[in-house]
C-alpha cells in the first residue's frame, strides 16, 4: 500500500549520512549503534506493517545521558528522530523514515525501584508493560493498563500513545496511572515532569506528554502507580441473539450502579476466530458475546454477578457461562487478548480504534456492517463495550492491491462515522500515520493549528517523529 504519503526525505541529511554516523559513534558504545542495511531493516516498520521505511541509522542507548547526547546531536544537525519502544504500534507510530535516526529504548528495560508503602514503581522506558505487573504480582500488586500487546509493548510506548486496555473501565488509561517521567527535550535537555508526589503545580506537562506520540520529547524513565490486586477476579460470558440486546444490557448494568472491571464485546465472526484459536469455551450459537469481569471476595463476586445476570436476563441473554477455574479464566482472556493475532491467522486485517458514545452502539454496528459490505469485504468486531472503544477488524488480502485500498477506504469511512456520532478517531492506539490525514474530520483548522502551536513549544523544527499525527500540509512551526 502506498496511499499514505511520507515527507520527502531531506536530501541534505541523506548526503551527510557518513558524517552523522561518525558523530553518533562518538556518543554511544558500538553495540548501541546499528548501521548495516540488514540490521536497520529490522526497524523499518511496526505493527502497522503495510508501510515500511528503512531508517538512516538506529541508536539503542543504555542511559538517559546517551539519549540526551544523541538527541542533542540530531537537533544540532537537524536530523529527524523517531522514538521506538517495542515497535508494536498499530497506527504506524514507530515507523521510521529514510532520513531519520531511530532512538530505540529496548536496552533501557530495568525496573529501578518498587515502593509498596507509597504504591509506586520507578522504571526505565523500555521495560515491558507486563514486566511491571510480573515484578509486583507476588506481593499482591499490579500495573493497571493492560493493552493486548502487554507482553511485548513498553511503558515508554504506552505513555507515548496513552494506551488503554480491557480493564480501563475501572482503572483508567495510562495517563491516570503515571506520576512522573524523565523527559529528554529535543535539544537534549533532561527534565523531570511530575514525580513521586501527586498533582504537581504548574502546567500539567505530564498530561500533555501522555499520548503525544513521541512529538514532544523522548522519555527515558517513568514513575508509575501500582495498585493492590483484588482478592479475586472472575470473568463471565454472556451470549446474546443480537448486538442490540448486548448493548442494552451494558447500559443497564452501568445504570444500576455497577462498574465491572471489564466489559468486552465480540460479534459472531470474532467469536468464531477467537474460539478456534484459544478454545476458550465461548458459546458458538450466539450473535454477540460479552465478557464481563467482576472483582472481590467470592461472596462479593457472587453477589455482583447475581445482579448482572438478572439484568442480562431482562435483556434476553441466551447463554451465561461463568469461569470455574483459573485455567478457564486464563483461556477466556487469552481468547479476547489474542483477537488480533488470531484474526491474522485467517486473513490480513486492519484494526480500527474509534470510540463512540455507547448509546450509539447498535446504530454504529449496523453502519459498519453496511460500509464493509459496500466494499465487498468482511469485518470482525471486538471492542471495549463499557467505554465505547471499537476495534472493527477489516479482513482483506494484502497481496491484492485493489482489496487493500478498499480496506483502507472502508476503515476511513468507519472512523468518520465514529466522529459523526460524537466519538473520536482513536481511543487507545494513537493517530500515527494511519489516521493522520483524517485529523481534519475531527478538528477544525484553529483547533489543529492550536495543537501544532503547543507542539512547536517543544519542537519548533519538527525534528521529533515528524511524519505523524498532523497532516503534512499546513504545518505550523511556531
Amino acid at each position: 500500500m502506498t496511499a499514505i504519503p511520507f515527507p520527502e526525505p531531506r536530501a541534505d541529511v541523506l548526503a551527510r549520512r557518513d558524517f552523522l554516523i561518525e558523530g553518533l559513534a562518538k556518543l554511544v558504545p558500538a553495540s548501541s549503534l546499528v548501521t548495516s542495511e540488514d540490521e536497520r531493516r529490522a526497524f523499518e516498520t511496526d505493527a502497522f506493517t503495510a508501510y515500511r521505511r528503512v531508517p538512516l541509522a538506529v541508536v539503542l542507548p543504555e542511559t538517559t545521558e546517551q539519549v540526551s547526547a544523541v538527541l542533542g546531536f540530531c537537533h544540532q544537525h537537524q536530523v529527524p528522530v523517531v522514538p521506538r519502544g517495542a515497535g508494536t504500534s498499530l497506527c504506524g507510530g514507530a515507523i521510521p523514515q529514510e532520513d531519520a535516526v531511530v532512538i530505540g529504548l529496548s536496552k533501557m528495560s530495568r525496573i529501578l525501584a518498587v515502593n509498596y508503602p507509597d504504591r509506586i514503581a520507578k522504571v526505565q522506558a523500555g521495560v515491558t508493560n507486563l514486566a511491571i505487573t510480573n515484578a509486583v504480582s507476588a506481593d499482591g500488586f499490579f500495573y493497571a493498563p493492560d493493552p493486548s500487546s502487554q507482553l511485548a509493548c513498553t511503558i515508554g510506548g504506552n505513555i507515548g500513545m496513552n494506551s488503554g486496555g480491557a480493564h480501563c473501565l475501572k482503572y483508567g488509561v495510562t495517563t491516570n496511572n503515571i506520576l512522573g517521567v524523565t523527559l529528554v527535550l529535543v535539544d537534549g535537555t533532561v527534565v523531570e515532569i511530575g514525580g513521586e508526589a501527586m498533582d504537581a503545580p504548574g502546567y500539567d506537562l505530564l498530561g500533555l506528554v501522555c499520548g503525544s506520540e513521541g512529538q514532544l520529547g523522548i522519555l527515558t524513565e517513568a514513575t508509575v502507580r501500582i495498585l493492590p490486586a483484588a482478592e479475586g477476579a472472575r470473568p463471565v460470558l454472556f451470549g446474546f441473539e443480537t448486538s442490540e440486546q448486548a448493548g442494552e444490557a451494558v447500559a443497564a448494568i452501568i445504570a444500576a450502579g455497577i462498574v465491572p472491571v471489564a466489559m468486552e464485546f465480540m460479534d459472531k465472526p470474532a467469536i468464531d476466530i477467537c474460539e478456534a484459536f484459544a478454545k476458550a469455551g465461548y458459546p458458538m450459537d450466539v450473535e454477540a458475546l460479552l465478557i464481563i469481569e467482576v472483582e472481590g471476595s467470592d461472596a462479593e463476586m457472587d453477589a455482583t454477578l447475581a445482579k448482572i445476570v438478572e439484568i442480562a436476563r431482562k435483556h434476553g441473554v441466551k447463554r451465561v457461562k461463568e469461569s470455574k477455574s483459573a485455567m478457564e479464566t486464563a483461556a477466556i482472556w487469552k481468547g479476547r487478548k489474542s483477537a488480533f493475532g488470531a484474526t491474522g491467522r485467517i486473513a490480513d486485517y486492519i484494526c480500527m480504534d474509534g470510540t463512540i458514545p455507547t448509546g450509539q452502539l447498535p446504530y454504529v454496528l449496523r453502519r459498519i456492517d453496511e460500509i464493509v459490505k459496500h466494499y465487498g469485504l468482511r469485518v470482525a468486531n471486538v471492542f471495549h463495550a463499557g467505554d465505547g472503544n471499537l476495534h472493527p477488524l477489516i479482513l482483506y488480502n494484502v497481496n491484492d492491491p485493489e482489496e487493500a485500498a478498499k480496506a483502507e477506504e472502508a476503515g476511513n469511512d468507519i472512523l468518520k462515522l465514529c466522529v459523526e456520532v460524537g466519538g473520536c478517531l482513536t481511543g487507545e492506539h494513537g493517530v500515527g500515520i494511519e489516521k493522520r490525514d483524517l485529523m481534519r474530520h475531527q478538528f477544525h483548522k484553529p483547533e489543529l493549528d492550536q495543537q501544532m502551536r503547543v507542539r512547536a513549544a517543544f519542537d519548533a523544527g519538527w525534528i521529533l517523529n515528524p511524519a505523524k499525527v498532523f497532516p503534512l500540509d499546513g504545518r505550523i512551526a511556531s
Binding site: 507509597d118 500513545m161 527534565v191 500539567d204 499520548g211 450502579g257 453477589a303
Partner: protein
C-alpha cells in the same frame, strides 16, 4: 465586568479585548479568588452567566456543563441518577470565607479534588473534554464526550490546573461514577504519625478499596489523634471488608466503626479543610509528597515552625498546614524541608504575601521556559489571567 451569556459572546468579547490589548482576569463566582497570585488585569470576564448542564447520559457515565454552572447543580443533576463526580471537589468557601456557589469551571481551572483523589484520581483524571477560547479569540475543542480518546494532543489536561492562564474555559465534560450504596469509617485513636502513615499505607495497599485515608493529630477536632479510613461500597461489601481490614491492621489497635451522617460530616471537614479554617488570619499550605516522607517532614516542620498546625490526607501524601501569616508565612522553612521530594502550595495568605512569595512551588529553569512557550502558544499577547500562576506567566 464583562458577563457573556453565550460562548460566542464570550469569544467576541475576548477578540475585542485582544484588539485593544487589554489584559483581563477570569472569574466564576469568586469563591476561589484567593487561590493563586492576584492577576494583574484591568478588566474582568465573568463566566457566571454561562451556566447549565448541557449533557447527562447516565448509561454512558458522562456529564457536560457550561463553565459557569454552579458545582451544586452538576452534583444535584448527577445525584438524581445515583451518580457523582468521582474526585470529590473541595469547597474552598470555608477557608476563604467567601460566598456564592463555586462553579464547575473554577473546579477545573484549579484542578480541585478531595480525599478520594488518592485512589480514583484528580479532577484532571476525570475531565475528558473541554471547550475554551484561546488568546486569539478562537473557540477550541479538545477531547470530547467519550472516555477513551487519544486523538491529538491532550489540551484537556493542560487546561486543568492552569488557573485560567491558557484560555477561557466555556464548557467541561467529565466521566462520572455511580454513588456508592453506603459509606463507613474505620477509626483508630492515639496513633503516632509514623504508625498512622503505616496503617494508612497498609489499608490503601489492601484489596478492600479504601477511598479515603486521613490522620488528624490530637487537638484537631478531637482530644486524641484520629486515623480514619473510609469505605464506600455496597452494604454487604462494607460489612465483609470492615472486619477483614481490622484484622489486617490489628497491630494498630482495635478500631471503631463510624457510620452514616457522622462519617459523612467527618469526610466533608477533611475535604474542605474546615479543621484549619480558623483563625482566619493564619496562612494555609498544601504540601504534596509521597506518604512515607510525611512523618519525617512533619517532625521537621514542628521543629522549624513551632506554631504550625496540620493534618494529613491522601494516606499521608497531602499535608494541610496552617502557619502564622507573618514574614514569608513559613515559605523558606517549608520549602527547604520539602526539598526536591514534593511541592508546597500557599493556598491562603494576604495579597501582600502572595505577591512576593511564590504561591506555587518554583520549577526548574527549563520547565519555566517551556511553560512560557506553552503560554505563548495559547495566549500570545499574554492577556488572559496574567500573573495568576507565576509573575512571568
Amino acid at each position: 465586568m464583562l458577563t457573556p451569556h453565550t460562548e460566542e459572546a464570550a469569544a467576541t468579547m475576548v477578540r475585542d479585548l485582544l484588539m485593544w490589548k487589554v489584559p483581563f482576569a477570569l472569574r466564576g463566582n469568586g469563591t476561589r479568588q484567593g487561590l493563586g497570585r492576584p492577576a494583574q488585569a484591568g478588566e474582568t470576564l465573568s463566566l457566571e452567566k454561562l451556566a447549565g448542564v448541557t449533557l447527562h447520559e447516565p448509561a454512558e457515565m458522562v456529564i457536560s456543563a457550561l463553565a459557569g454552572t454552579p458545582l451544586c447543580v452538576v452534583e444535584e443533576t448527577l445525584a438524581t441518577k445515583g451518580q457523582m463526580l468521582p474526585f470529590e471537589p473541595m469547597d474552598h468557601r470555608a477557608i476563604y470565607g467567601t460566598e456564592g456557589e463555586p462553579t464547575i469551571g473554577g473546579v477545573v481551572a484549579a484542578n480541585v479534588s478531595g480525599p478520594r483523589r488518592v485512589v480514583v484520581g484528580a479532577c484532571r483524571d476525570h475531565l475528558i473534554g473541554v471547550r475554551f477560547i484561546n488568546g486569539r479569540g478562537e473557540i477550541i475543542r479538545s477531547g470530547g464526550r467519550v472516555m477513551k480518546n487519544v486523538t491529538g494532543l491532550d489540551l484537556v489536561k493542560l487546561q486543568a490546573g492552569a488557573h485560567g492562564t491558557l484560555g477561557v474555559l466555556t464548557e467541561v465534560t467529565f466521566k462520572v461514577l455511580p454513588r456508592p450504596e453506603a459509606t463507613a469509617t474505620m477509626l483508630f485513636e492515639g496513633l503516632s504519625e509514623a504508625d498512622a502513615v503505616a496503617a494508612m499505607s497498609a489499608a490503601l495497599g489492601s484489596p478492600f478499596e479504601i477511598t479515603g485515608a486521613a490522620h488528624l493529630p490530637a487537638g484537631m477536632g478531637g482530644e486524641k489523634a484520629r486515623t480514619v479510613l473510609r469505605f464506600e461500597n455496597f452494604v454487604a461489601s462494607i460489612d465483609y471488608r470492615f472486619p477483614a481490614l481490622a484484622e489486617k491492621l490489628k497491630r494498630f489497635g482495635r478500631p471503631t466503626r463510624v457510620d452514616g451522617a457522622e462519617s459523612e460530616q467527618l469526610w466533608l471537614a477533611i475535604r474542605d479543610c474546615t479543621l484549619l479554617a480558623e483563625p482566619r488570619e493564619t496562612a494555609l499550605w498544601r504540601l504534596s509528597i509521597k506518604p512515607s516522607d510525611a512523618p519525617g517532614l512533619v517532625a521537621a516542620l514542628r521543629k522549624a515552625l513551632a506554631e504550625a498546625r496540620f493534618y494529613l490526607d491522601w494516606g499521608g501524601g497531602l499535608i494541610w498546614l496552617a502557619t502564622p501569616a507573618t514574614g514569608d508565612a513559613g515559605a523558606g522553612a517549608i520549602r527547604s524541608a520539602v526539598g526536591g521530594r514534593g511541592h508546597a502550595t500557599l493556598v491562603r495568605a494576604p495579597d501582600a504575601i502572595r505577591a512576593t512569595v511564590p504561591v506555587f512551588q518554583p520549577e526548574p529553569a527549563p520547565v519555566v521556559a517551556l511553560s512560557g512557550r506553552i503560554k505563548a502558544s495559547l495566549d500570545p499577547d499574554r492577556l488572559i489571567n496574567p500573573g495568576r500562576m507565576h509573575a512571568e506567566i
